[in-house]
C-alpha cells in the first residue's frame, strides 16, 4: 500500500530570497552604492517626504529613485519633475512587495557607476515588504500621525527590521490623539536601536534631521 513516495525538503520559503539579498548587498557595498529600502502604508506621504529630502541632499551626493508599485507611474514622474534626479518605476505585477531579484532587475536599469544612493520606494504595505529582504543597506519606514501611535504593536515585524522610523505629518498633531512618547516607547519595544525622527514633509520641519542621518549613513557605507 505504498502508493506515495515522500521526498524531504525542509527548507524555509524565504531562504532563496535571503541568499539573493545577501549577495546583492555585498555587491552594492563593493560598488559603494547605498540602497535605502523605504516602506510605509499607502498615503503616509512617502513621495512628498522623498522630494523634500532629495532636494536637501542632491547637491552633496548623487541620488536616484526606484518607485515600486502594483501599477501606474505617477510617483516616478512626480519625483523626476520635483527634483530632477533619475527615477524609474517598477511594477510588481500584482505582488504586494519587492524581493531581492526584482530589486536587482530594477538596479540593472540604473546608472550604477554614477550613483551614491538609490532610494527604493517599496509598495505601500506594512506586512509583506517586511518579510522579503531586498538587499538594502538600511531599512526605513514612514509612519504618519493619522495612522496612530499604536502601529508598532500591530505590525511588529515591520518595526523590528527598521533602522529608522520617520513619523510624518506632525503639523496635524493638534487634531489627532497621537502620543509621540508612546510611539517611541512602542518602537523601542520592537527594536531598541531604531531611531525615531518626527517630521512634516509639508512644512519641512524635522526633514533636515532625516537628511543628515541619510548623508551620514551613505558616508559610512562608502568608507569601509
Amino acid at each position: 500500500m505504498n502508493s506515495v513516495k515522500i521526498i524531504e525538503i525542509k527548507k524555509s520559503v524565504f531562504e532563496d530570497n535571503n541568499l539573493d539579498a545577501e549577495a546583492l548587498r555585498k555587491e552594492l557595498k563593493l560598488k559603494g552604492v547605498f540602497l535605502l529600502n523605504l516602506m510605509s502604508s499607502p498615503g503616509s506621504g512617502k513621495t512628498t517626504t522623498l522630494i523634500q529630502v532629495i532636494n536637501r541632499i542632491k547637491d552633496k551626493i548623487r541620488v536616484a529613485v526606484m518607485e515600486a508599485d502594483i501599477d501606474s507611474d505617477v510617483d516616478a514622474v512626480k519625483i523626476k519633475e520635483a527634483t530632477g534626479i533619475p527615477s524609474i518605476q517598477l511594477h510588481t505585477g500584482g505582488m504586494c512587495h519587492l524581493d531581492a531579484e526584482m530589486t536587482r532587475q530594477g538596479l540593472d536599469n540604473m546608472p550604477m557607476e554614477d550613483v551614491d544612493l538609490v532610494i527604493l520606494e517599496n509598495v505601500g504595505n506594512l506586512v509583506c515588504p517586511a518579510e522579503f529582504d531586498t538587499g538594502s543597506s538600511c531599512n526605513a519606514m514612514i509612519l504618519s500621525v493619522p495612522e496612530g501611535h499604536d502601529k508598532p504593536l500591530k505590525y511588529p515585524l515591520m518595526f523590528s527590521i527598521c533602522d529608522v522610523v520617520v513619523v510624518n505629518k506632525i503639523d496635524v498633531l493638534p487634531y489627532f490623539d497621537f502620543d509621540m512618547e508612546k510611539c517611541r516607547e512602542y518602537v523601542r519595544m520592537r527594536n531598541p536601536n531604531t531611531r525615531v525622527i518626527p517630521i512634516s514633509a509639508k512644512t519641512g520641519e524635522g526633514v533636515d534631521e532625516f537628511a543628515s542621518w541619510l548623508l551620514e549613513a551613505v558616508k559610512n557605507w562608502k568608507k569601509h
Partner: protein, 116 residues
C-alpha cells in the same frame, strides 16, 4: 495579500527539488507553517489551487499544512509560554521582556510523489 507571493516561492522551490530528484509529477506538498507566521491558511489554499494548476508538475496537487504552535521565552524568569494565548506578557511573572522562540516558520517540509 502576500500569500500569492509565498505560493510563487513554494512553486519555484518545489520545481527545483523535482528536477533534482527526477520527479515529473507531484501529488502533494506538505508545509510547516507557524501559528504567528502571518500566513492565512484559507488564503494560501486559494492561491495554491490557482497557481499550482497552471503547472504540469503540480496540476491537482494538494497543499497540506502542518500548523506549528508559537512559543515565547521570558528573559526575566526563563519560562516558556504559549504566544497566541498570552502575547507579549509572560503569564508566569508578568514581565514583558519576552521574545518568540518558534512559530513564525514558513517551511516546505516534504513533497509527495505518486509511485509509478
Amino acid at each position: 495579500m502576500h500569500e500569492l507571493g509565498i505560493v510563487f516561492y513554494i512553486i519555484r522551490d518545489v520545481k527545483k527539488a523535482a528536477q533534482e530528484n527526477g520527479v515529473e509529477r507531484i501529488s502533494a506538498v506538505v508545509m510547516n507553517i507557524g501559528e504567528v507566521s502571518t500566513i492565512v491558511p484559507e488564503y494560501i489554499m486559494d492561491c495554491w489551487r490557482w497557481a499550482a494548476d497552471k503547472e504540469d508538475l503540480l496540476r491537482g496537487a494538494e497543499l497540506k499544512i502542518n500548523t506549528l504552535p508559537a512559543v515565547s521565552y521570558c528573559e526575566n524568569c526563563g519560562m516558556e509560554y504559549e504566544t497566541v494565548r498570552f502575547g507579549k506578557t509572560c503569564p508566569h511573572c508578568g514581565c514583558e521582556k519576552t521574545y518568540l522562540l518558534r512559530g513564525n516558520e514558513v517551511e516546505i517540509k516534504e513533497i509527495e510523489v505518486p509511485n509509478q
